[in-house]
């Protein structure tokens, strides 16, 4: 009898684990989800509301895929984990035994105890259910005359963009005095501020939510702002002040919890045969300077890949390589490779270039003196992942990176190029006299 591996959560982490276990073994695999029958791309939820896609399009695998690959799908909510008997209690009283358990239960939107945070019309944007709720709460600008989005992060700006497509006026309440400036350097953050405002969003920087007010029916009617006491009438409040691991149901399970489920680099919890991956996993210490909890699509996927190896007889630690990420702020695409901090780390400095159209810029973090390349943020220009990954491994200097920037350009053909502009600015800042080298396929495939 093959070992039964049960995975709770059908997001990118859980599904990646299941797929890679199947590639390497014949183990019995069950994925349990209370959210949807099938895996879908959470990052694509916004496009359903905006009408770019339907829910079906967000499913990366056709429905027959699961049966063909003998991955059992179970639609249920897990109430408790009984690790002594290796058993799960599911909603409705059903029980399920496991040999190995993978917790890939994701996150839930943060709520910070605001008065009125559970009113009708207040919601986050994380799950399929949240999307359905938004469709009901804000189908058009007659039902929802104004929305207030609280929290200036990636989900916040997505929610703003979504609501704008239905011509709903939006107030965007951001605690920081510039958008996402805990992550983005000032020049970039300010460019995004201007971009948001240019979409006719009522962007309020440096303001906190005080309370959410109800009408007679228990529905949202307004929010108040802490600093000014101002009352903003609205019908929908989007809470997008970050997410935290969805671990409430494990409180009494005996599994060690911090903010998330505590794991070691092997992704093992304190209980034998129970593992945690993705958004809900919390490393005892961040790996390679990363945060202990990484709620990012890519890291969820990488953890899934690593854990699947462990579970199929090839013990593999989660050992992510160079950091990378991407996002899109309305019309401006963003990618990052390596580390760029909002303020340069000690001993580092930033080189910042911005195009005059106010839609493109880059910031490079490098060591002072040696100008060793540490990382790059690029906005409005696409760059080649594999090349930057290699340059980081090879510990190239910024001089080298910028000279060879044409190799890394990943914009569609015929797009304008900015390598020379960037180098001119760099030469002026550092007294160098570098010239861009012509693109070379040899170097790209070296």
């Amino acid at each position: 009898m093959e070992e039964h591996i049960v995975i709770i959560g059908n997001g990118i982490s859980g599904v990646t684990t299941a797929r890679h276990i199947r590639k390497a073994s014949d183990k019995k695999i069950t994925i349990i989800s209370a959210e949807t029958d099938h895996f879908f791309s959470r990052t694509a939820l916004m496009y359903i509301y905006m009408g770019h896609m339907k829910y079906e399009h967000t499913k990366p695998y056709e429905d027959y895929f699961w049966k063909k690959n003998r991955i059992n799908l179970k639609r249920a909510f897990v109430e408790t984990v009984d690790h002594e008997n290796k058993q799960l209690l599911l909603s409705g009283g059903e029980k399920m035994s496991y040999d190995k358990l993978v917790l890939a239960v994701g996150s839930k939107p943060n709520k910070f105890g605001w008065p009125g945070q559970d009113l009708d019309g207040v919601q986050g944007l994380y799950s399929k259910q949240d999307l359905d709720k938004l469709e009901a709460n804000a189908p058009d600008n007659k039902t929802c005359k104004r929305a207030v989005v609280v929290g200036g992060g990636l989900i916040g700006i997505e929610m703003v963009e979504m609501l704008l497509t239905r011509d709903i006026p939006v107030t965007f309440l951001v605690r920081e005095n510039s958008f996402w400036n805990g992550v983005l350097p000032q020049g970039e953050s300010e460019m995004i501020n201007r971009h948001i405002t240019s979409h006719h969003v009522d962007l309020r920087l440096g303001f906190n939510l005080d309370s959410i007010l109800a009408d007679d029916n228990g529905k949202v009617r307004a929010v108040t702002i802490k600093e000014t006491g101002e009352e903003i009438a609205c019908n929908v409040v989007g809470l997008t002040a970050g997410v935290s691991p969805n671990v409430a149901f494990l409180k009494d399970s005996g599994i060690e919890l911090g903010r998330g489920i505590k794991v070691n680099p092997m992704l093992e919890t304190n209980i034998k045969d129970i593992y945690a991956i993705g958004d809900c996993a919390e490393q005892h210490e961040g790996i390679n300077g990363r945060r202990p909890i990484e709620a990012v699509w890519y890291t969820g996927r990488m953890m899934g890949e690593a854990l699947a190896q462990t579970l199929t007889g090839n013990p593999t630690a989660y050992n992510p390589g160079h950091w990378f990420n991407s996002a899109k702020f309305m019309d401006i695409e963003y990618q990052t490779y390596g580390w760029v901090f909002s303020k340069p780390k000690d001993g580092n400095t930033h080189f910042h270039w911005m195009h005059k159209d106010d839609n493109k810029c880059i910031t490079i973090e490098m060591q002072e003196g040696t100008r060793k390349f540490v990382g790059i943020n690029n906005f409005g220009i696409r760059l080649r992942h594999e090349l930057f990954d290699r340059w980081l491994t090879e510990e190239r200097t910024t001089d080298y990176v910028l000279e060879h920037l044409k190799d890394a350009n990943f914009d569609p053909e015929f797009y304008s190029h900015y390598e020379k502009d960037i180098l001119d600015a760099y030469n002026a800042a550092y007294g160098t006299s570098l010239a861009p080298k012509k693109k070379s396929w040899k170097r790209i495939f070296a």
Partner: protein, 543 residues
């Protein structure tokens, strides 16, 4: 802005309504002299035909359908009579007499052409007398209304960038009632154009002045089709320019298909025809140009002196050398989405429907069976045709040359490429023909898949599996399936429209022509994790 848009829609629909209604307008009065000259021009041997048409039609003032119906009726009566004669002589075993009767029959397939030609002579009334005004009320209003509908998008779509908002909320682009209505209209249009052109002879009157100016002759239904094709492509290209104004690849590509349609497919053949030369579309490569090796074309080319021979050589070189060499360097996109007329219509008129191509594995399987069958069909047909052309035989390999040509023209040329290929845009997507039927696309696909520098590169591990690329792939390729594995997309069906790259929110996809080495990279594990799991898997298999 919205007011202008809505007003534009009203004007467009008015133009379309007048265009449609014009079929029923005007009268047809055939004079005896017109009939006589037609009969002698055509060398019609049956006196009965002339008699019957004369009885049914001449001197009467008839509407479109009454007129064409009466002509077709006359032809049918003629055939009935001679069928009876044939049966009679057959029974009497008078073979010579029986044989003589056949020359008096009119081929059933020629009824519409016969009726069309007579109608073209007999037309009178408002349209014939007011061609300029009618042009304005149809084409004029249509173009004006469409542009008024399209131009406000410059403001309404907001800042430059991908704006597919509400594609799946609107009845026109979400297979709603508007889409079905458009489908019915397009299908009817093609059925009329291909099989019942005599019903729409009024349309040709509207374009007679332009046709006369271009080639010195009156407009045929094919002139109407060619002109309409260009007008629709230009108008919808304006829409493309606005929608993708941030994306230079789309702008250059749209300009290219537009240029090749207007100059190569439309103007040059018209001008050649006006000079008494065979009207040839120099970009239309065999086997998409399936009748290139038909006897009538070979005959016409060999009889047209140096130019004819040049076209003959060009056509062969285009298919055997230029097309594959270009596909090697640039992928089949250089043809399918930069040059081809079918592709041009798909990329302009069809762009609002690109999301409807089916992405399922089943559809892919069907695609491979269908498109390769059509390729084989076209090659067998050509083989038979050429054999019969050179030997004078009627059949080769037991296949009758005329039969296979007729069958292909009917099934593939008319039904698949036209009625289904374009008519089904609003429901099945804009590349139905290119994906499932085009034999040239199948041929280019082989080259692209096995010997080309073209690929869509996946940008390392940046894919978030959102599905925009797959949704908006007009060729039904599940782009995401590759991108989320970090694999380059090397698929024979990809026409390189570049929209997957355009709609990707994370900058993951790039169309490029790079070295062949490393083009296909079947990695199963993405960049990001430091363990090289492929090495692990390979080592395990080796041990």
């Amino acid at each position: 802005m919205k007011i202008i848009k809505n007003l534009g829609l009203v004007i467009f629909i008015t133009g379309l309504a007048i265009w449609t209604a014009s079929i029923f307008m005007g009268d047809f009065t055939l004079q005896q002299e017109q009939l006589d000259s037609f009969i002698s021009e055509k060398g019609i041997k049956s006196e009965l035909v002339a008699q019957k048409i004369s009885d049914n039609v001449v001197g009467k003032k008839l509407g479109t359908f009454a007129f064409t119906g009466a002509v077709r009726d006359a032809l049918a009566q003629n055939n009935d009579y001679y069928d009876a004669q044939i049966a009679k002589y057959d029974a009497a075993k008078e073979w010579d007499k029986k044989g003589e009767q056949y020359q008096y029959r009119i081929n059933d397939k020629d009824f519409q052409a016969f009726s069309f030609s007579l109608a073209k002579k007999a037309g009178t009334g408002f349209i014939v007398e007011n061609k300029g005004l009618m042009w304005f009320l149809t084409f004029g209003l249509g173009i004006l209304g469409a542009l008024m509908f399209i131009f406000p998008n410059l403001v309404l779509l907001g800042k430059p960038g991908i704006k597919n908002d509400h594609v799946y909320h609107e009845a026109a682009t979400n297979r709603g009632w508007i889409a079905w209505l458009v489908l019915v209209y397009l299908v009817l249009f093609y059925l009329v154009l291909y099989f019942n052109a005599d019903y729409v002879v009024n349309w040709t009157f509207i374009l007679d002045p332009i046709s006369n100016a271009l080639n010195g002759g009156d407009a045929s239904q094919w002139f109407v089709y060619g002109f309409l094709y260009c007008v629709i492509m230009i108008t919808m290209a304006v829409r493309m320019y606005i929608k993708y104004r941030h994306n230079k690849y789309q702008i250059v590509r749209t300009t290219s298909v537009l240029f090749f349609q207007i100059v190569f497919a439309f103007l040059i053949p018209e001008i050649m025809a006006s000079l008494g030369k065979p009207g040839y579309d120099f970009k239309n490569a065999f086997p998409l140009d399936y009748d290139f090796f038909f006897e009538w074309n070979l005959q016409s080319l060999t009889e047209s002196g140096g130019l004819g021979i040049f076209i003959l050589v060009w056509g062969v070189v285009l298919t055997l050398v230029i097309v594959p060499v270009m596909v090697y360097f640039f992928g089949k996109r250089w043809y399918c989405s930069w040059v081809c007329g079918c592709g041009g219509l798909a990329e302009t008129l069809g762009d609002p429907y690109r999301q409807h191509s089916n992405k399922s594995m089943k559809a892919w399987k069907l695609e491979r069976w269908l498109i390769h069958s059509v390729l084989v069909f076209s090659l067998v047909m050509t083989l038979v045709t050429l054999y019969c052309y050179f030997t004078g035989a009627e059949a080769f390999l037991g296949i009758n040359s005329q039969w296979i040509k007729d069958t292909y023209s009917f099934l593939i040329g008319a039904w698949f490429a036209g009625v289904i290929g374009t008519g089904f845009y609003p429901i099945f997507g804009n590349r139905v023909w290119c994906r499932f039927g085009c034999p040239l696309a199948a041929y280019l696909g082989f080259v692209q898949r096995f010997k080309s520098r073209f690929r869509i590169t996946t940008n390392g591990g940046q894919c978030i599996s959102c599905g925009n690329c797959s949704t908006y792939c007009e060729q039904g390729i599940d782009v995401r399936a590759y991108a989320q594995k970090g694999e380059n997309i090397v698929r024979s069906s990809c026409v390189g429209c570049g929209v997957c790259s355009a709609v990707c929110p994370r900058g993951v996809l790039k169309l490029e022509n790079g070295p062949e080495a490393g083009r296909i990279n079947p990695t199963q594990v993405l960049l990001g994790n430091d363990v090289d799991l492929m090495d692990y898997v390979n080592n395990k298999e080796a041990s």
